[in-house]
């Protein structure tokens, strides 16, 4: 779930007509002071972080004067709450509280449908209360005012507050529905001493899968993260965002580690198989540098980029790839993606790669064939090799491996003399050095091309389709031409797949 900060959530509530306290964001103590002057003291200052325990962690303070606001801001800004650094604070008018309540719109997986939760008491600790009452909402009909009023009567709110609060609940549901939120909570709803209702705090998480329809929300990474995204997390997310084929998910788990710490770069396929494979690594006493999942039949280029990102963590002692063991996706593509990455970085830590499933024989053959010259061993396994056995192999290889100083796995190619090139769907380039192709007898590139889009023209490989079609995705970035040419041809094919931010 893509979580919003309180101040962003309040903007959405306001847009639906729910009153929120008068407030301004600030990124520096002087801005906080100006905000307090503008709003009028006393004010409350709230750290904008995704944490449920801001008050207990010193993330919320009251100020009687602009000077105090500035002073509080200088202690809160830059301070860490859990793993999150406070970069922004919200300065708001202080309300005179008569009563606090809770309301939330969630999605119930059983019905399935939206659900209104309401508690006549609000504030911190509401999750421990059993007093919350719920109402199923019809997705087509929505939440009519009359239904909300009847529901509130049942929970004991029947006085003058009833219709006013019902109106707020109706607007709360509209906020959830309009923004496609998985959860939209106001805790607390404050009834002021002069009888007005306000959303004093809010927590909204947008459905990851619907973020593409809500670009205006400016969500950087459409995922629920328990810590702020790292540089690599962002690079990986960018790769996934620009390539719809298959799924690529990457999160860094360990941050400060070095060679010898027993931290492994992990590359899974499929959620269930990945979890099981990580369990196997943990059982061998390893730590896991990152979670990564490439599945759903991704192209070789996506697996390559994932591997490059994993390998860019300098402290890893090994590379472990394993999924469910009996994959439906064609494993040759994963094999080619991995091999290209391993060769380019001159892999110097051992790798254990479990590629069981569809086309596993071809996949493991590719893996072994193309990694013999590398400084570190690469072992490929199939569906009859359990994850636990593969993790044991990882242990054996890591313990016996002495990293060599030379990092030159594969010689870097000379500049092309007579290049022929075209672009791919992810802004990659496929290049053939026709000066070398002229002497090649194998013409393996044309034969090995999976989508069969190459042809020979006067004995030289060229596109058999238009450049536009190739760039639209007819070139599937299978990577077969480059790898096969390196082995059976003249090393004339070179595929460059940029990874913005990494290279």
């Amino acid at each position: 779930m893509a979580r919003l900060f309180e101040y962003q959530g309040k903007e959405l509530l306001k847009a639906q007509g729910i009153p929120v306290p008068n407030g301004l964001t600030a990124n520096s103590p002087s801005e906080a002071r100006k905000a307090a002057e503008k709003i009028g003291c006393p004010v409350v200052i709230k750290a904008q972080v995704w944490s449920t325990s801001r008050a207990a962690s010193g993330g919320i303070a009251f100020a009687e004067s602009p000077e105090e606001a500035e002073q509080f801001a200088s202690t809160i800004l830059g301070h860490k709450i859990g793993p999150f650094e406070v970069k922004t604070i919200l300065v708001e008018e202080k309300l005179s509280v008569d009563r606090e309540m809770y309301a939330g719109i969630l999605v119930h997986d059983k019905v399935p449908g939206p659900l209104l939760l309401f508690n006549t008491q609000g504030g911190s600790g509401v999750e421990d209360q059993s007093g919350a009452r719920s109402l199923d909402i019809d997705i087509v009909q929505g939440l009519p005012q009359s239904d909300a009023e009847t529901f509130l009567k049942k929970v004991g709110i029947s006085d003058s507050l009833n219709s006013k609060l019902a109106d707020l609940l109706v607007r709360l549901y509209k906020t959830a529905r309009t923004n496609e939120a998985r959860s939209t909570e106001i805790n607390p709803i404050i009834l002021t001493t002069d009888g007005e209702l306000y959303a004093a705090d809010c927590r909204i998480a947008i459905d990851d899968y619907a973020v593409f329809r809500h670009e205006d929300l400016g969500i950087e990474i459409a995922r629920e993260l328990s810590s702020p995204p790292t540089r690599l997390d962002k690079i990986a997310h960018d790769v996934e965002f620009h390539d719809y084929r298959g799924t690529f998910y990457f999160i860094q788990l360990e941050h400060d580690f070095k060679k010898g710490d027993g931290v492994i770069g992990f590359h899974g396929a499929g959620g269930g198989g990945s979890m099981m494979s990580m369990d196997a690594l943990l059982a061998e006493g390893f730590k896991i540098a990152n979670f990564c999942d490439t599945s759903g039949n991704p192209p070789a280029s996506k697996v390559y980029r994932a591997a490059r990102i994993i390998l860019s963590q300098p402290g890893i002692d090994g590379y472990f790839a394993s999924g469910s063991g009996v994959a439906s996706q064609e494993q040759v593509h994963s094999a080619r993606g991995l091999v290209k990455a391993f060769r380019e970085v001159g892999l110097d830590v051992p790798a254990v790669i479990r590629l069981g499933g569809n086309m596993e024989d071809e996949a493991v053959e590719i893996l072994h064939d193309f990694t013999r010259e590398l400084p570190a061993p690469v072992e490929g396994y199939k569906r009859d090799d359990p994850a636990s056995y593969c993790a044991q192999r990882m242990r054996t290889l890591v313990d016996s491996h002495r990293s060599s100083k030379s990092k030159s796995g594969i010689e870097s190619a000379k500049p092309p003399e007579n290049p022929y090139q075209f672009e791919t769907v992810t802004k990659g380039t496929v290049l053939f050095d026709h000066a070398l192709c002229a002497d090649c007898e194998s013409k393996i590139c044309v034969k090995s091309c999976v989508p069969q889009i190459l042809k020979l023209e006067e004995g030289l490989p060229v596109l058999g389709i238009s450049r536009e079609d190739a760039a639209k995705g007819k070139c599937t970035e299978c990577l077969a031409c480059e790898l096969e040419c390196s082995r059976h041809g003249r090393g004339a094919a070179r595929i460059t797949l940029p990874i913005p931010g990494l290279d």
Partner: protein
């Protein structure tokens, strides 16, 4: 018997002319599924692997005859439209393969499906396969694999993970235990046929003698199966494994989850309620065949 799919069912593929639609139509046909029609708006009149393509679901039904199941392979943002079209045309079962279908779209599909007595598997499902009979979706990848890997027998398998559905079915088959049907319920939090619905179908399927469940953290699916066992609705033995023990750390439930589920959704919670309900809990994935075998032997 098997559940959801067998060789007698007449199948439509929505999005048959796309990359996945084409490839999986071939798998399904070669494995024994009766794929009788496909549809892609604007591509009526074409053929894909000898399957006639129509412009709409309605047109497919009018020209190719009745449809029992529609398998949907269209991009995620278009799934809602495709599913609602099939529901309106009266197709009784949908298999929604794509990943990343927006949640509120799924809720709208569920609403229309309920109102019209339509069931749907997924979204984000690898599909369902009845060994020796037929397959829907992409399980096995290729027909020759699927035939080699999965054998027919008395186990009904319901799994929250696609890859794991195949691997459990494979390891069971390797140890001589076959399956009636293997189902991937879908990887999302809201799915049309979650574990409890699949378990109910297995309970009523005479060929299924033991139910194997692969659960995961999150949602209330496993807890609801435990309730069905407690209430006596499910009497067949259940062998269960809950994945995600290692992923516990870093997976956080919001206030919402805490309030709504009251302790549901966690690894410990699921293991506990299933155990109390009499399920045979397996703590190591590789022991699933062994435990299943001994449960079968005890019947």
């Amino acid at each position: 018997m098997a559940i959801l799919i067998d060789e007698t069912k007449r199948v439509l593929v929505q999005g048959i002319t796309g990359r996945e639609g084409r490839t999986r139509t071939r798998l399904m046909k070669e494995f024994g599924t009766q794929v009788v029609a496909g549809c892609t708006p604007g591509k009526g009149g074409q053929e894909v692997h000898e399957v006639p393509v129509f412009n709409s679901v309605q047109e497919a039904i009018e020209q190719a005859g009745s449809i029992d199941v529609s398998v949907i392979f269209v991009p995620a943002p278009l799934v809602k439209g495709a599913a609602l079209e099939a529901v309106e045309a009266g197709v009784p079962l949908l298999v929604i393969v794509p990943d990343r279908v927006p949640l509120y779209d799924v809720l709208e599909i569920a609403h229309a499906a309920n109102a019209n007595d339509v069931k749907f598997l997924g979204p984000n499902t690898l599909g369902v396969l009845s060994p020796g009979r037929a397959v829907l979706g992409m399980m096995g990848g290729r027909a020759e694999n699927a035939r080699k890997w999965f054998r027919q027998g008395p186990v009904g398998l319901s799994s929250r993970s696609g890859g794991i559905t195949s691997s459990i079915a494979y390891y069971l088959s390797q140890s001589g235990i076959g399956l009636s049907t293997q189902v991937h319920v879908g990887g999302d939090s809201v799915v049309g046929l979650p574990h409890p619905e699949i378990v109910r179908l297995f309970q009523n399927d005479p060929e299924t003698r033991v139910i194997v469940l692969f659960g995961e953290i999150g949602t209330s699916q496993e807890e609801r199966v435990a309730e069905m066992m407690q209430s006596g609705e499910v009497t067949k033995p259940v062998v269960a494994f809950i994945g995600g023990k290692a992923a516990k750390e870093g997976t956080r439930f919001s206030h919402a989850g805490a309030i709504i589920e009251g302790g549901r959704g966690t690894h410990e919670g699921k293991v506990r309620v299933l155990k109390n309900a009499g399920a045979h809990m397996v703590d190591s994935f590789e022991r699933i065949p062994e435990v299943t075998k001994s449960v079968l032997a005890g019947l």
